[in-house]
């Protein structure tokens, strides 16, 4: 920081970020408070930072779910860790492969990848293939493979990073020294790619963590439900009943369902784990990588 304009920049950065953070934090705080608010107060007076009446009812209601929820947490953690790891390796490999502009057919291969982002056969044929050919229905693999393991977006991002952020001079000098491609990839390129790996790891991890549709379609027994399946079940039911599909039975069915405060509590339980884990991964967004070995 060596000039006043630099200092002003730094100060402005902090100010803007503080405002942005507050805008993200306050709604969340409101929802947390909502989960501890007496439901009648919410219905009568709306959400508030200072509710008239507090209540633990929402969490008491959810405590009943605690046994299946614990197992579901385990499932979620396993599928997230395993899925993200596997996804990262394969994505990085194919992203790196595609980053060679002189690879014969690289344009076609890239198109092959991008095309998958544009056209999709739809749920029905995907389901048929995964259940009839691969038999993943009601297995843990249903939470990992269908639709989530790779996507063109991540692959292209990886490719972009490898193409633009890894100086050619390093890989070239290694190759001249006789190193093989795989060695270059694992020993040189990957360590320099921690930021993109962390980024895509985050994107993928959050996707696995929040996914509830795979469980919905591929699991009809509760053994492999992940956390979002259990929590979202109720929210989906509410949405379905409100959509008019059951006509006038909706009133009586909905009135027996738990209240707003419970829905808040559900949302919060779903998010807290990610928030506690995320800071630990942030050190991989390392600033300023020193590439000391390179002499230009």
């Amino acid at each position: 920081m060596n000039s006043s304009s630099d200092k002003r920049l730094a100060a402005s950065s902090h100010i803007i970020l503080i405002i942005a953070s507050l805008s993200c934090l306050l709604p969340f705080v409101l929802l947390v408070i909502g989960s501890f608010t007496d439901n009648n107060t919410i219905v009568a007076q709306g959400y508030s930072f200072f509710p008239e009446k507090w209540s633990l009812d929402a969490y008491r209601y959810l405590a009943v779910l605690s046994a299946p929820l614990i197992r579901a947490y385990g499932i979620t953690i396993f599928t997230t860790v395993f899925g993200t790891a596997l996804s990262l390796i394969i994505t990085a490999l194919i992203g790196y492969g595609l980053s060679f502009p002189n690879l014969p057919g690289v344009k076609y291969l890239s198109f092959f990848v991008v095309f998958t982002m544009l056209f999709n056969g739809g749920l029905v044929p995907t389901y048929v293939i995964y259940t009839q050919i691969f038999h993943i229905k009601n297995t843990i693999w249903a939470q990992i493979f269908p639709g989530m393991l790779l996507n063109g977006f991540n692959i292209m991002l990886m490719r972009s990073y490898f193409q633009n952020s890894i100086p050619a001079s390093i890989t070239e000098s290694a190759r001249i020294d006789g190193a093989k491609d795989l060695h270059i990839f694992f020993r040189i390129v990957l360590p320099l790619s921690l930021p993109i790996l962390a980024t895509i790891g985050l994107l993928t991890g959050v996707m696995y963590w929040n996914n509830w549709t795979n469980g919905l379609y591929y699991l009809t027994k509760p053994d492999y439900y992940n956390m979002q399946n259990i929590l979202n079940n109720m929210l989906n039911d509410i949405r379905y009943l409100q959509s008019g599909a059951v006509g006038d039975y909706a009133g009586d069915l909905l009135s027996a369902l738990p209240a707003n405060s419970v829905r808040m509590a559900i949302a919060i339980i779903g998010v807290i784990p990610i928030l506690t884990v995320y800071p630990f991964f942030q050190r991989y967004f390392v600033k300023g990588i020193t590439i000391g070995a390179v002499k230009e």
Binding site: S5, A10, S13, L17, S21, G46, M156, N164, I196, R263
Partner: protein
């Protein structure tokens, strides 16, 4: 100091035969991903025919009758066809442009933060909106905008002496509301992507610029932004494929499915959902997906061609 992109051994056409042999390890690295995409994405593509068929369960997908473009009619003959198309397009244009601006800006700002703890704190907090679903966010927006109990009508507007606005019956406010909500939910997430690119920029460039007397702001405009241009272009191209798609939760949940707002909140995805609610026609919903895909496809191909002419190394393919 000049910048070079990563490249393998420059191969001349004459060397092609040995080139392929030399690239076998690279093909091997591509193989696992390609196999997965083949199984997960290409095999199911036979399902695209559903959009053109009248599905009968006794005959199965392949035995069912072809009905040409009949399943597509409802997308075009509705009196709202223009509105939903216009809304989808305009929102997406705004979202893409603003998304890039906010994502890049915040990534740059984060890069200026020296204190590690503050950096991590900011990063974690601004990611929050992305982690929560639209259903939950809609509770929050309802808390803000509800007619009698909403915070804006009850606490904020009275400060300015303005009477309460019936937010859920006035369509004109919603382009702003939805755009703000979309940015709010996405900026913390998209800036992560740009941030990783920024972090990967060689520090030596900045050191040299500093020695030359450039201010931090100048360094941002002269070094940072140009160096992440490839990432910006890649993301832009990728997002163009979603031109006719919309984030369903945003357009359905946040406006509380209020009919009076349809003129500014109805998009293709919500229209399809609502119309097929009762009749559940599989072919018709497949047709909608097909229609959206075709448009996205044309957009990406077209944009890619343009990018190829301008700076070919940034093209997707």
């Amino acid at each position: 100091m000049h910048m070079r992109k990563a490249a393998s051994i420059p191969a001349k056409p004459a060397k092609r035969k040995t080139s392929i042999k030399r690239f076998i390890p690279i093909y091997a690295m591509i193989l696992p991903g390609a196999v997965y995409l083949l199984i997960n994405n290409y095999l199911p593509m036979f399902g695209l025919v559903i959009a053109f068929k009248d599905i009968n369960f006794r005959k199965g997908i392949f035995g069912s009758e072809w009905v040409g473009l009949k399943n597509f009619e409802y997308l075009f003959t509705t009196s709202d066809a223009w509105i939903i198309t216009r809304n989808t397009l305009l929102y997406n244009i705004a979202f893409i442009i603003l998304g890039i601006i906010f994502g890049v800006t915040f990534a740059i700002l984060l890069n200026e933060i020296r204190q590690k703890i503050l950096l991590r704190t900011y990063q974690t907090i601004i990611l929050l909106p992305h982690l929560v679903s639209w259903v939950v966010i809609s509770y929050f927006t309802y808390a803000m905008l509800s007619v009698d109990t909403g915070m804006i009508n009850k606490s904020i507007l009275p400060l300015f002496g303005i009477e309460g606005i019936s937010w859920f019956t006035e369509p004109k406010y919603w382009p702003f509301i939805l755009t703000i909500m979309n940015i709010w939910k996405g900026f913390g997430f998209s800036c992560v992507v740009y941030f990783s690119s920024i972090v990967g920029i060689n520090k030596e460039y900045y050191e040299a610029a500093q020695l030359d007397g450039a201010s931090r702001l100048q360094q941002i405009f002269r070094i940072t932004i140009p160096m992440i241009k490839p990432t910006i272009i890649t993301l832009l191209l990728l997002n163009l494929g979603r031109t006719f798609y919309s984030d369903f939760g945003l357009f359905y949940q946040v406006p509380m499915n209020s009919g009076m707002l349809f003129s500014t909140t109805n998009v293709i995805d919500t229209y399809v959902f609502r119309s097929l609610m009762q009749i559940g026609n599989i072919g018709m919903s497949a047709a909608a997906g097909f229609y959206q895909s075709i448009v996205g496809f044309i957009m990406v191909i077209g944009a890619n061609l343009i990018v190829r002419k301008v700076s070919s190394e940034n093209a997707l393919f």
